[in-house]
Structure formats: structure tokens, C-alpha cells
């Protein structure tokens, strides 16, 4: 059996695991090349596209983006499955989670570290300045206004979003028009902040005193004999509240949906028992319902707090951060792009990051207690 004809040796060569693995690398390599080429092709299409019809670019873009992901997984998996059993088990998990983890690392983990580092450097990210940027952020009078505004956002935005959502959820739960009413309150969730900005700018629109008012709010004010106001501009510091209203309007639907589900989860017997014992509806609400849905209240409040901390679009579109309405996120944008100050811009982003760390820790602790892992 030691005779090795050329033919049989070729056969064994093809069936040898190493060669199979190398051969299986070919499709993976080809798909990587296609992806990379596609990356530059799509990029260049975008850069010199005056002559190319836009629809064509859109189609190519979708094919590259979506097809690329499928191609990559298929060929990478094909490669791994050609390997010996042991290696399939070792490597396959990383084919599945690898792309996501790489993406997260590139898009979130590394940038966070880079931003934290540049927060300790000067405006061009060249010289080390220690805590100087943070000192500026926490002592500059303009920055203090920014923090005051964000505090207003967090306190009033959250309180009213949560209570409006809760009230609607409770009312809708007892109404025959529940579905319709909830859809109406929820609808703003589908609208962008820029769109919502236009909607409310129109509500707040102000015309000169002697002209007919086209903004609903000023029209009502004038109707009651008042003077028209530029609500979001020179009406300081109340203009912040007129901006906060927009976010309450947008987000109440979110809290309503979660509260609605929580209320339906309260055992009916508990509330019935309380009513039989002679509790008024208000007592039932405050002493039974609220404690029962406390978990949801905390969860919704946390989400809205994070949301209002990061608020950008509404302020940027409505006032551009002028008239003392600037918030952390708009100031971050201004430092980077108007003043080209990397250091302070990064320091502001880091402040935002530090503000959400407690929530992050809480989420991780909840996760650690789960049994799945």
C-alpha cells in the first residue's frame, strides 16, 4: 500500500483538510475584495456624481450594502465549515458575532476612548492641557447657562412626559375610544424633531402687532387682548419651556404605551377589592396603581432623562442655541464646528458620557443577575 500513483496522490491532496481550507479561502477572499472594491466604488460614485442618475446610485448602494453583508457571512461561514470539526466549533461563533463586535468597537468603543483622550488636549489635539477644558466647561458663565437649560430639560421634560403619558394611559384604559385616542397621542413619535420643530414654530409664529396673527398661540393671546410674543426668542428664560413642550408632545406617546401595558398587567382583583372597600378612584390611582407600576415609571423616567440630556435637534432647529437656549449637545456642536475647539468639544461630550454612566452601571448589574448567562 505504499505505492503512490500520481493520480491517488492528487486525490489525497484535494481531500486533505489543509488544501480544502485554503481552497475555501478563495470565495472569502473574493468577497472581501468585492466588498472593498464596492466600498471605493460607492464612495467615488458619490463624489463625482453630477453625471450619474441618482436612482442608479441608490440601487447600487443598496445592493452593495445589503448584498455585502450576506456575501461576507456566507463565504466566511463556508470557509470555517471546511475546517476540521474542532476548529469549526472554535471559530464559528466568531464568524457570527465577529462583524458586530468589530463594528461596535470601531463605531463606539474606540471613539469613546479617543474622545476622552482629546478632552485632555488643546483645541488642535496637540498639546496636553490636563483638566483645563473641564475647568472651562464647569466655570464658564455661558456653559453654566447651558447646564441650567439642560437641567430644565431633564426636570420638566421628564416630569411632564411621564405624567402626561400616565394620565392618558389611565384615561384611555377606561374609554371605549382607547385605540383611536392612543394612536393620536402616539402619532408624533413618527415625526422627526426637525419636522416637529416646524410644526411648533408655526404654532409659535409671531406677526407684528397690527397684522393678523397666523400662529395659533399668538392668535389666542391677541384674542384675549394680549401682545404677540416671539415665544422661543426674546421671552427669556421662559423660551426654554416652549422648546421643552415640543419634546413632551413628541415623547408622551412613548411613555403612554409603556404605562398602558403596565396598567393592563395589574391584577384586576386588587383594584376591585380596593373599590369594594370604598376607596375613591384617586385613592385607587395613588395607593394601588402607582406602587404596582413603579418599575415602569422608573424605566420610562430613566429613558426620558437620557433622552433629554442628549437633546439636540429641537434646539438647533428652533433657535440654533441662541437666546440662552443652548444645551449640552448644541454647545458640543458649536465648540467643534464653529470654534474648531476639539478639546472643549470633547470635554463636553465626556460630561454627557459621565452623566449616563449610572444608567450604564444599572443596566449591567441587571444583566449580571440574569440567568441566561
Amino acid at each position: 500500500m505504499s505505492m503512490n500513483t500520481p493520480e491517488s496522490s492528487r486525490k489525497s491532496l484535494i481531500s486533505s483538510p489543509v488544501v480544502r481550507a485554503v481552497a475555501a479561502l478563495v470565495p472569502l477572499a473574493i468577497s472581501l475584495v468585492i466588498l472593498t472594491w464596492g466600498f471605493f466604488f460607492v464612495r467615488d460614485l458619490q463624489l463625482v456624481k453630477n453625471t450619474i442618475p441618482q436612482l442608479f446610485i441608490v440601487v447600487i448602494a443598496i445592493i452593495w450594502g445589503v448584498g455585502g453583508v450576506v456575501l461576507l457571512f456566507t463565504t466566511a461561514n463556508f470557509f470555517v465549515e471546511q475546517l476540521p470539526e474542532l476548529w469549526v466549533h472554535r471559530l464559528q461563533p466568531f464568524i457570527f458575532i465577529g462583524p458586530a463586535i468589530l463594528m461596535l468597537t470601531w463605531a463606539l468603543v474606540i471613539p469613546t476612548i479617543r474622545t476622552i483622550i482629546s478632552a485632555f488636549f488643546d483645541e488642535a489635539s496637540v498639546g496636553f492641557v490636563g483638566m483645563k477644558n473641564f475647568v472651562y466647561v464647569f466655570t464658564n458663565p455661558a456653559m453654566l447657562t447651558v447646564f441650567r437649560n439642560n437641567l430644565l430639560w431633564v426636570i420638566f421634560g421628564t416630569t411632564f412626559t411621564v405624567s402626561a403619558g400616565l394620565i392618558v394611559a389611565v384615561l384611555a384604559d377606561r374609554s371605549r375610544f382607547e385605540v383611536a385616542a392612543k394612536a393620536m397621542i402616539f402619532m408624533p413619535m413618527a415625526i422627526s424633531f426637525v419636522g416637529a420643530g416646524v410644526i411648533w414654530n408655526f404654532v409659535y409664529a409671531a406677526k407684528p402687532v397690527d397684522a393678523p396673527q397666523i400662529g395659533l398661540l399668538n392668535s389666542i393671546v391677541v384674542g384675549f387682548g394680549g401682545q404677540p410674543q416671539a415665544w422661543t426668542a426674546f421671552f427669556q428664560p421662559w423660551n426654554n419651556f416652549f422648546l421643552i413642550v415640543i419634546v413632551i408632545w413628541l415623547q408622551a406617546g412613548y411613555s403612554m404605551v409603556l404605562f398602558s401595558a403596565a396598567i393592563k398587567g395589574i391584577p384586576a382583583e386588587i383594584m376591585e377589592a380596593a373599590r369594594v372597600d370604598g376607596a375613591t378612584e384617586l385613592q385607587v390611582f395613588f395607593q394601588i396603581m402607582i406602587p404596582q407600576i413603579m418599575g415602569t415609571i422608573i424605566a420610562v423616567s430613566t429613558t426620558v432623562v437620557i433622552f433629554t440630556l442628549k437633546i439636540f435637534d429641537v434646539v438647533w432647529v428652533m433657535t440654533g442655541g441662541q437666546y440662552d437656549t443652548s444645551v449640552i449637545s448644541t454647545e458640543f456642536y458649536r465648540q467643534y464646528f464653529t470654534y474648531n475647539n476639539n478639546g472643549i468639544g470633547s470635554a463636553i461630550a465626556v460630561v454627557l458620557f459621565i452623566a449616563v454612566i449610572p444608567v450604564m452601571v444599572y443596566n449591567l448589574r441587571q444583566f449580571a443577575q440574569r440567568e441566561v448567562f
Binding site: 457570527f96 392618558v168 448567562f373
Partner: protein
């Protein structure tokens, strides 16, 4: 019985008031977008409803030779006549139930004779939409018969751009997240718990902290200003939530289905594509809607990665730009805003159930 009826009336009444408050702003926008531009900028949208106002019954254009610097005399068909200087006519002179109102400036204006009566402003038109959607110059027909030529806002282009950004920016993270969620849920490997903790930790990270380093990478790769830049950014920012949601769903699929498939000799890849993906359609759809709306409505990411490039601008940027440059042109703003809203609203009302489910599954989003 009576108190129960009163209670239900109170509940429904309060609910109706809140619903009205919540929908009126959007309704006003929608109505205004269809109104003639002269009307939009001179009267409130609520004047489309019947109300009492001064309505023109007759117009008199005085001869050019008439001296407008001395009191002028006008006579209505009904016989009422008024003599008043220009300044008074400009404010309006009332007599016998008529009002004599000068419209326009002193030299080329005319006199309107008005009566106080029931009326409604219902000059509806599609001109506003045509103008915001068109590229190049657009000549709009106005209600008084004149035309006005202005540069269109080319929102059609921006709309298509937004589609081109939103579709891949929805599908790519879902594909990546579904694979990863399966890996976390059904495969054993070192570092599994730690890597998933990373996903959970990143759920609430404010994306502001990541924007600038990514921008620097993009500038180095020359992708800044392209759709590619926005897809990759949204993929990265959407992944933690997508993975988290998909994991919650996939890890709760019944174990015996998978074990049966393994006994039959199916590989992980086959199980994933043939079994898990079809079973996960509800979760995939929930996240898809969520992410699609998120990307469509996003402004900050587009602002930073696409920037001022006019050809690649997304619809939210386009609208924000109109707000900035023509903030008083309400006929354009209302129509433009509604165009940005039309697709999300259609998705929302068509697939509300999935959307709500997705939202409840993961209540934090960075």
C-alpha cells in the same frame, strides 16, 4: 348608574381634550400646506372654517390721475359713498355696514369695498408641494391670478437620498445583529458573557461622544459627505439595541426545535438561515421599523457626516435648511415638513403593532 355615566363622560371628555391638543399642531400644518401662499402668510389656518370677517364685494381702482395726497371719494354700488384721505382708507373706513379699505401702496394700490359676513378661506392648492419638490425654477400660480417664480427646494432629491440612506442603514445592522444574537444565544465560546456585557453597556452611550473620532476616520478615507459614511455610522450606533433586542427574542425560542435540528445533522449556519430567521420575523420587523424611523428622522448624524454637500443632503437637513434660510415662508415650510413626515407616518400607521412591540422590548436607545 348616573354617576357611572358622568364618570365615563368625564373620562372621555378629558381624553378628547388631550387628543385635540395633541393633534391640532399637526392638523394646522397639514391644512396650511395646501393653502394658497398669500393666505398662509396673512391669515391663520383656522380661517378655513366658517367665521365672520370683512369680505370684498367690490374693487375700485382709481384712475392714475387721481391725486392720492388729498382726500379721495369712493362710491359703492349700493350708493354708500365715502370721502377720506389715504391714511384713513389704509386703516379702513366703515359706513352703513360697509368698509372702504385701501389695499397695496399709495401709487399702485386699489380700494376694496367690504361687507362683514360669514366666510371661509378655502383656496386650496398643490402649488406649495410642487415648489418644494421641484428642482430649478418653479413658477407658482397664485390665487389672485399672478405668478411667482422662485427656486424650488428639490425635496424630491432629498427624499430619494433619505431612502438610499435609510434602507441600508436599517438592513445592515439587522443582519449583523441577527447573526451576533444567534451566536450569543446558542453558541458557546470564551468571552461570551463579557462581550455581551459590552453590548449592554453600549446601549445608552450618547452618540455625541463617538461622532468626532469617526468623522476623523471618514476624512482620512475620503468618505465624508457620502451615504456610505451615514450607513456605517448608523450601523454602529444601532447595533447595541439591535443585538440586545434580537438576543432577547432568539434566546427565548424553544430549545427543542434547535436540538432536533442538530440531531438531524444541521449546521449552525443552516439552522440560523432556515429556522431562526423565519421564526424571528416579528422581532426583525419590530427593530426594522424602529431603526428605519430613527434613521429617517435623524438630523445630527446626517449633519455631521453629510454636512453641507447639497447633492447628498437628506430630507431632514433639507428641511432644516429651509427653516434657516426662509423661515417666514410658511407655505414652503409646511409643505416641506409634511413631505418629511409622510413616509414615517405611513409606516407608523401601517405597522403600528410592530413598532409598539419593538419600542417596549428595548426602552433605551443611544
Amino acid at each position: 348608574m348616573k354617576s357611572k355615566f358622568a364618570g365615563s363622560l368625564l373620562v372621555n371628555g378629558m381624553l378628547a381634550v388631550i387628543c385635540l391638543l395633541w393633534t391640532i399642531p399637526t392638523f394646522g400644518l397639514l391644512v396650511s400646506s395646501f393653502r394658497d401662499r398669500i393666505d398662509v402668510n396673512t391669515s391663520g389656518w383656522w380661517t378655513i372654517f366658517p367665521h365672520q370677517d370683512w369680505v370684498s364685494v367690490q374693487e375700485v381702482t382709481p384712475d392714475a390721475s387721481v391725486n392720492r395726497d388729498v382726500p379721495m371719494t369712493f362710491k359703492a354700488d349700493s350708493g354708500t359713498s365715502v370721502t377720506a384721505p389715504f391714511e384713513q382708507l389704509q386703516i379702513g373706513v366703515e359706513k352703513d355696514g360697509y368698509r372702504f379699505q385701501w389695499i397695496g401702496n399709495r401709487r399702485v394700490g386699489y380700494l376694496e369695498i367690504q361687507k362683514y359676513t360669514w366666510t371661509s378661506n378655502t383656496n386650496f392648492t398643490l402649488e406649495n408641494y410642487k415648489q418644494v419638490l421641484s428642482s430649478g425654477n418653479y413658477t407658482a400660480a397664485l390665487k389672485d391670478g399672478t405668478t411667482e417664480t422662485a427656486l424650488g427646494d428639490n425635496m424630491t432629491h432629498a427624499f430619494l437620498n433619505s431612502v438610499a440612506v435609510a434602507v441600508p442603514a436599517t438592513v445592515i445592522p439587522i443582519a449583523l445583529a441577527a447573526f451576533a444574537a444567534y451566536g450569543f444565544a446558542w453558541m458557546k465560546f470564551p468571552g461570551r458573557k463579557m462581550l455581551f456585557a459590552l453590548v449592554v453597556g453600549l446601549l445608552v452611550i450618547p452618540l455625541q461622544i463617538a461622532l468626532i473620532p469617526i468623522l476623523k476616520d471618514y476624512v482620512a478615507l475620503h468618505v465624508n459627505g457620502t451615504f456610505l459614511a451615514v450607513w456605517l455610522a448608523h450601523t454602529g450606533f444601532g447595533l447595541p439595541l439591535a443585538t440586545y433586542l434580537m438576543f432577547n427574542y432568539i434566546s427565548e425560542l424553544p430549545r427543542d426545535i434547535l436540538e432536533a435540528a442538530f440531531v438531524d445533522g444541521a449546521s449552525h449556519f443552516t439552522i440560523f438561515t432556515q429556522l431562526i430567521v423565519p421564526l424571528s420575523v416579528p422581532a426583525l420587523a419590530s427593530f426594522a421599523i424602529f431603526q428605519f424611523l430613527w434613521v429617517w428622522n435623524d438630523y445630527l448624524v446626517a449633519l455631521i457626516f453629510i454636512g453641507a454637500s447639497p447633492t447628498n443632503q437628506l430630507i431632514t437637513q433639507r428641511l432644516a435648511e429651509i427653516v434657516g434660510s426662509r423661515g417666514q415662508d410658511w407655505h414652503l415650510l409646511t409643505a416641506g415638513a409634511f413631505i418629511t413626515m409622510i413616509l414615517p407616518l405611513a409606516v407608523f400607521f401601517g405597522l403600528q403593532r410592530y413598532f409598539v412591540r419593538g419600542m417596549m422590548a428595548g426602552s433605551v436607545k443611544g
